[in-house]
Symmetry: D2
């Protein structure tokens, strides 16, 4: 069995490698900060010397990084993945970048004789660890067919949505709903609370109502317990909303609730709350309503 | 076993009586249009001559009507429920009206020596029939304790949220999320579709993503199949958003996503789509995006 | 020359009577708090014993009060204006109430044999004192023709827009722009300021640009000098926005910028700033942007 | 008297050169399409062979082009302005580009030993021809002092707002108000019109009210007469709103009315109305309200 390469071993990437190892795949990994990958080496992951070395060694290489800039850092240059790709190899990017950037990268991969898929995930560390993650895949059908079994070992649900770039587009479309639902949920909780209903009761009713998406359930503890853990921070969330708004303008699709929610994420930064999970939208609205975001 | 009274036998009320009958309760019912209740009489429901007659005959009387005006029509006047109430009796209103109107009615009931609960439901005909409805209850604890077993026969989940009027407040808070989630879902589908992803694929991914609330799943067929059935029409949805916005102003809680969504419901009426389910928000946005709401 | 009656001698009403007296009209006035009218009595105004007494004594009676409730208080009841009206008399309401309330009142006036006009003003105390006020008039043409010369003595510009109720509709439509322009102006000032431009410079450029409406110029000192004077407070402004939103729903006209701005007025109340001029929208946005609304 | 260079002779640039010539300045000009500059050559303008040739020949060179891309085309490369600049020369860009792009260009100009000012205008062809244009200037004070007299010959009002890049920031901040005021004006007109007031009457009242900015007055004919002339098209307006939103995110300033209005400009494109003046926001809202944008 040939090694699987994995570049970018942060919160999500690291857990994915953990799942691949658990499924019996040999994995060669690389991360900008090596120490963060020690736990995976202990679990049997081989360390690659550079993104290029990983791509040279492996027939199938994944990346999972923060944004377009980070993606360029690991794919371009002398030590980058592109320099290590060649005919017969497959490269899969799981990051959320703009559809245009993803398609451009796919072109460069194809010119190198290899194939690329964009394969962002719909879900979070919670769904990943819980084994309920969805992977959305863009690229040609033959390459998809080759990689699909491995993808199933990462997230059990795998959907092929179209050619290169379409999966990141689908991901961006899905993610706009996260922020909008969080803000609407905050409106509901604060309306109930200022009307005299205990916050716990309001959250209990809402999380068992028809608006209770997994997102709402995951974020309820942020509203109730002032959870400190950052699953997806304000800047990451806003990055995705900006990609949605940018893509919306490109395709002439107005996104009214996204646009309004995005401005309140900007307000979160203005209020000095940028380092928190985007569930901080609750605190932003609470301040507007004259409610202390913290519980009494 | 004493009869349960039920006034208002429309889509929701009728199905509730059906469940009460199935659970073995004798029921006496009344509806403005008697013919709509024939199927319930066939199932064993006793017909009451007027709302007042129902309340006089039964120790526990329910109402489930469309709005404040309809509620006044069945509670006030010589033939109204209030005229039939007295010491020891309990009256439960399941309609969604303003918290202020509900509290005012509770005052009148108390002055008549009886007790009142507001008990709106979180859910729809789908959840009701599926046996997963939640009933939210406002009123004093003793009366709640008396009525709770019967409420459990309607919807399995029953939550007491506070004194009179608090349940309708909670219901209003929950319902604002329906419309906002529908609009955000529409933004996501149209963004994906105009970007080149098949509508079916986009809806499939979204309905298995973390934004997939029961509401999103119930409304997906409206987007995919141009479903004609009206579960909750534009005017009903807007009535609830207006109650939310009005209550938000009363308690100084700004509701930005609710306010924006509400204007697009107004646009639905402006475009001549008022008689449809509020899922028509998809069509409103589709027209703004230059997409024919109907499938190609 | 017959006396002109004037009920409601607050900031606006009082200055109007001052202008009528200056133009040589005998005026009989009434105000809920008599002491506030002392300065007008000193200028020659006759004091009426009640709204009814004013209407009985005068052929032409004006009202200028805060809202629908205040209007009902001076028009209804034994001491109200309606009780003092009769054939040949004219009643002119200059308050801003809902078109429906105004039309209903006109019906009652007509049933009493008299005629009514709604005649709200477009402008403020600044324009009134400066002699540049516009009066918008609704009602039948013959009555308008009779009253027009007196209206010209109040504000030099008088426009007849249609039958009863249409002038308050026009006023409501005009006023929504006040709040929206104030918020957009605040966005521009804060964007420039946080980008490094002195607030004075930003305001100077904006107030001499193509967006410099009289409203923008009047409110510039609130942004620059933290002016304390309240020309039109948060609740008054919101009352007009609510009338606009309510009327918009009635006629199926979505009002997106009005709806968004209205929620930030609610936030002003949530933040404890309700007693200030609606220019406080600048402070609300400044807090969202992490800027102290007060100047450094 | 040394020649003034001017690159970009479109609607605005051409009229500016006309004013400079009228003020007695010798001008050397260049435009991508030479034929569009024939009328200026007839008025005495000297034709330059390239942007570089213009900059080499003149001590003071202006550019007035559409966007960042066009600016790069005339400043970069072998034939670009940068190649023609040197010690003692001054370059003034009057285009509206992002503050960051403007500062970056200023750095390159400074490295070439010359000085740069950003000097966008607040106003339009109407204000320019009418001689009431404002020029906003960013750059060092000494350079501003040298160029100020020439700028006064273009627009009578000249304001120095800060160092390089601050003038385009100020311009962007001013321009967001154009679109927001246009949309709020449209809301007011449609509310009045659907309520029964003639569109002419509504526009007359609004354009003489306190919201009547020069922008509102310039655009009134678009609403009334379906004017075809494009003063500032949908894409140009949206370009400026995007710069505002982008800069707002950079400085943590939420721009709620700008964000909402921007989505309706996207809708204008979705509805196939992109080639019109941004006053087309009226038609977008009219369609949402079920009103034919064209007059009956």
């Amino acid at each position: 069995m040939t090694d699987i390469g994995f570049v970018g071993l942060g919160t999500m990437g690291g857990r994915m490698v953990e799942r691949l190892l658990a499924a019996g795949h040999p994995v060669t990994g690389w991360n900008r900060t090596r120490s963060k990958a020690d736990w995976l080496v202990e679990k049997g992951m081989r360390w690659g010397q550079s993104p290029r070395a990983v791509a040279e060694h492996c027939g199938l290489t994944f990346t999972m990084v923060t944004d377009t800039r980070a993606l360029q850092a690991v794919t371009g240059g002398d030590d980058g993945i592109l320099a290590g790709l060649g005919p017969g190899k497959v490269y899969v990017d799981m990051s959320t970048v703009s559809p245009a950037a993803s398609r451009e990268l796919a072109d460069r991969v194809h010119r190198a004789g290899a194939r690329m898929l964009d394969a962002p995930v719909s879900g979070s560390v919670v769904t990943l660890v819980g084994g309920t993650l969805s992977v959305i895949v863009g690229g040609d059908a033959a390459t998809f067919a080759r990689v699909e079994p491995v993808l199933r070992d990462i997230g059990p649900k795998v959907v092929h949505v179209g050619p290169n770039g379409q999966a990141v587009l689908m991901k961006i479309a899905a993610n706009l709903g996260l922020a909008v639902q969080m803000l609407a949920f905050s409106e509901a909780v604060l309306l109930a609370e200022k009307g005299g209903i205990a916050r716990e009761t309001a959250v209990e009713v809402l999380t068992s109502s028809v608006i209770a998406s997994p997102m709402v359930k995951y974020r309820a503890p942020y509203v109730l317990d002032q959870l400190d853990e950052v699953m997806f921070d304000v800047d990451m969330m806003q990055k995705d909303l900006l990609l949605a708004l940018e893509t919306g303008r490109q395709f002439d699709v107005p996104l009214p609730t996204t646009a309004v929610t995005n401005e309140l994420l900007t307000a979160a930064r203005g209020m000095g709350l940028a380092d928190q999970d985007f569930a901080v939208l609750f605190k932003v609205l609470a301040r507007l309503a004259g409610v202390d975001g913290a519980r009494a």
